[in-house]
Symmetry: C2
Subunit: 467 residues, 2 copies
């Protein structure tokens, strides 16, 4: 947890801290516990504590912090809820963690336009609690109760993406404080625009390396009249995946479709006290009018049957549904609980859906050959799946075996035309994969953009773009 | 039509042409007719002929051309079908027009993944002809039979965007030759990724100023089982727009919903020999299973009735439907035909849908006060509408009145939280609006990105980003 002072000009942080304390007083915190907590996220990577944490409560605070860090060439790392998985918040070169959780206002909700503007520190669950009053919801659900700013930063998605898209599709515009402290408001409230470079989309997924997002305008959706949930077990993984491929090809607007392998189902049964059939499983959700939901679910049930699906369980009851999705969202903890005391590498490859069954099959074989404990769970409609191979933190050989497995998995996904990360992002944990996934010219373009927008390299250094 | 040699280093184009002729031989054309045709698009802006046209037929040809232009600091302007509207292809500073229509291979169609990879010069109608064989279609239809590369460059959309999105949402990845001749392949075939900066989205809408797109991977959709079309007249514009707002709020997945004002309906009736009711009109289309289409259309018909809609005409017959949509796509020519010999400024503002009725009402009033002839037609589900105020090219005062009207319209849209262009792009025709729509920091960021990726400023100079 020690920052590496050699990586920055000596004394830069001390001078910056003194300036920050003068401007922001008690909002600047340097206690060890707070610094350490801001340097480590929910993933498995080593934490790096910042030298100080600034608790911003306004755009002005953010501008002040960025200007001071810019003046002193001090690293600045934006912080939301700390729920990232790839070390995005680690202060690799020390500096200042800028905690945005105090920017938590829901600025406006426009029912007529199905959009809202919220500050970056608003949590997604709190937003949905507020939206419910107007019959609206924000569909992106990465599992964790992340902040909207953090979800923008990592280009998050989750279980609803098959129908509602990802953060890439959900952000109409945003306010970002750029590296020099200038304020850029990108996008408009119009649904589309061809007016210049898409700065919004460039900032979505930039993980705090190009600017500090302070507020975001989001697309919303009306809460569906009916929500129907289904669970269906399959004899084989391939039967489950083929069902989903056919659903997508037929254009059935399924809202959620999640795959759990038998090991994950068993883990969820144990952890969440359920009795789901311990076979390859699809958890599904359908949104719409009563007849639309009936239509969609009947069509999917038929496809499932034809692909070896059985034990179709159907529910429109909120409580049953919530229990199931709670279990799904707790899948990560359920998997960790398989070997108490162990840690896991949450892998995140995404492949063309036609290759998904192959990719999961080969990955399952690899796990068996390697003798690793791991479950598989996937946003199967997107071709995105997670494994969580476990390792004993005290067993270096096992850890290396897990890392080697992860390397092979990424290589397999890239060979199939996929990506090393569907939704978790790069942080510093996946930095090495960037040059496997992207060609020389693309990496050079990313570096050129980073240098152009942050010539002093103060914004979240050491992340996303390999040096 | 004369280029302005003062804007580039003297002699640079001559030297470049000599190099190009040596490498590419007969693919380099300098005849006046070809040059002039490549300098002027379908809009109303003055053309600027390039000094030469290169007819590329391969990625290698593109790389060669870019490298030569880079070496000699010679402007290079990518050319697709020439159907742009804002002077995107004008060779403002002379140089080389790079005609990509020879890159017209459909490289692959992946039915299982609902995607395809095509060269930039493929036309959208030809693509759909090919896709039909596999029961697929590509929904983006800007009206003109543009090339896919051109549609990527301008971030095009059209009548299907309300359901299927725009080019922003439809491009999974692309190959771009960057300013130094290096080849960047962005994106993957996976549906989503969080691996680094979204170069794909940065290039979509960059109008040839950041790179030359040579091939594109596109998302496709299954041809719906049933396509139902409806026409409905309204007593008032507001009744039509309110209907659409309610449709969107209820989440009814309408595939197309186009507004025509009474003047546009009259123009279409005259031009396309139809007898549509000459009132504010909605043209609609519903895609899905028979029961889904029935459901959706019944729900919309009820909403329309409640908002003063009448004379609901329904058809699932392909011929009737095609005639209607042909008339819709010919609306531009129908409007021009109202005053033969005149030209028109095709405006393209887009506003939040809650402000659309206000914006159209005020614009209609403005037209009447100013005494201009113009029709209004809109992608009302997106909040995007076009007027086509006509002017006699020999009447300087009338032209100025039309331009002043356009300025007021853009100002009105921006005040309402909208954009100066929903889908036509900036080119050089709307360059002056960029600094009205974007703040200083955003424009500075765009300029920094342009300089970083094209330090010599050779790629389509004078477009998109104001100096």
């Amino acid at each position: 947890m020690t920052p590496n002072p050699a990586a920055r000009p000596a004394g830069s942080t001390d001078a910056a801290l003194s300036d920050l304390q003068q401007s922001l007083g008690a909002k600047v915190v340097v206690t060890e516990a707070v610094r350490e907590q801001h340097g480590i996220d929910e993933g498995w990577h080593v934490g790096h504590a910042p030298d100080a944490v600034v608790f911003a409560t306004s755009l002005d605070d953010v501008v002040t912090t960025v200007r001071v860090c810019h003046a002193h060439h001090t690293p600045l790392i934006p912080f939301g809820a700390g729920t990232s998985l790839e070390g995005q918040i680690a202060a690799l070169r020390g500096g200042v963690s800028l905690d945005l959780s105090g920017l938590d206002r829901i600025i406006e909700v426009n029912v007529g336009d199905l959009d809202c503007r919220v500050e970056a520190g608003v949590h997604r669950v709190a937003l949905n609690d507020r939206l419910q009053r107007d019959g609206l919801f924000f569909p992106i659900d990465p599992g964790a109760d992340a902040t909207i700013g953090g979800m923008v930063a990592t280009r998050a998605s989750g279980t609803n993406a098959v129908r509602y898209g990802t953060m890439r599709d959900s952000v109409l515009g945003l306010t970002a404080v750029l590296a020099d402290g200038s304020i850029a408001r990108t996008g408009t409230r119009a649904r589309k625009s061809s007016a210049g470079y898409d700065l919004t989309r460039l900032l979505v997924g930039s993980e705090g390396t190009l600017g500090v997002m302070t507020d975001v305008t989001l697309r919303l959706h009306g809460i569906p009249e009916v929500i129907g949930g289904a669970v269906c077990g399959f004899a084989t993984l391939r039967g489950a995946v083929d069902t989903v491929i056919q659903v997508i090809q037929l254009g059935i607007p399924i809202a959620r479709v999640e795959f759990l392998d038998a090991a994950q189902v068993a883990a969820c049964n144990a952890y969440s006290d359920l009795d789901l059939p311990e076979r390859p499983l699809l958890l599904m959700e359908f949104h719409g009018s009563p007849s639309a939901v009936d239509d969609q679910s009947a069509a999917v049930r038929e496809l499932a049957s034809a692909n070896g699906g059985a034990d179709w369980q159907w529910s429109t009851d909120t409580e049953t549904r919530n229990a199931l999705w709670k279990a799904r969202h707790d899948a990560y903890y359920a998997a960790l609980a398989l070997r108490p005391g162990c840690r896991g590498i949450p892998t995140d490859v995404c492949v063309p859906i036609s290759r998904l069954a192959d990719c999961i099959d080969q990955t399952r074989d690899d796990l068996e050959t390697t003798g690793l404990t791991a479950t598989i769970v996937g946003h199967v409609g997107d071709g995105n799946f997670h494994t969580l191979p476990l390792f004993d933190p005290d067993d270096q050989a096992e850890r290396e075996a897990v890392e080697a497995f992860h390397d092979r998995l990424v290589h397999r996904a890239l060979e199939m035309g996929g990506t090393c990360t569907g939704e978790h992002g790069i942080g510093y944990g996946k930095l090495a994969f960037m040059s496997q996934e992207h060609d020389v010219a693309s990496l050079a373009a990313m570096r050129a953009i980073k240098s152009a927008l942050d010539p002093r390299g103060i914004l979240n250094p050491g992340k996303v773009v390999p040096a």
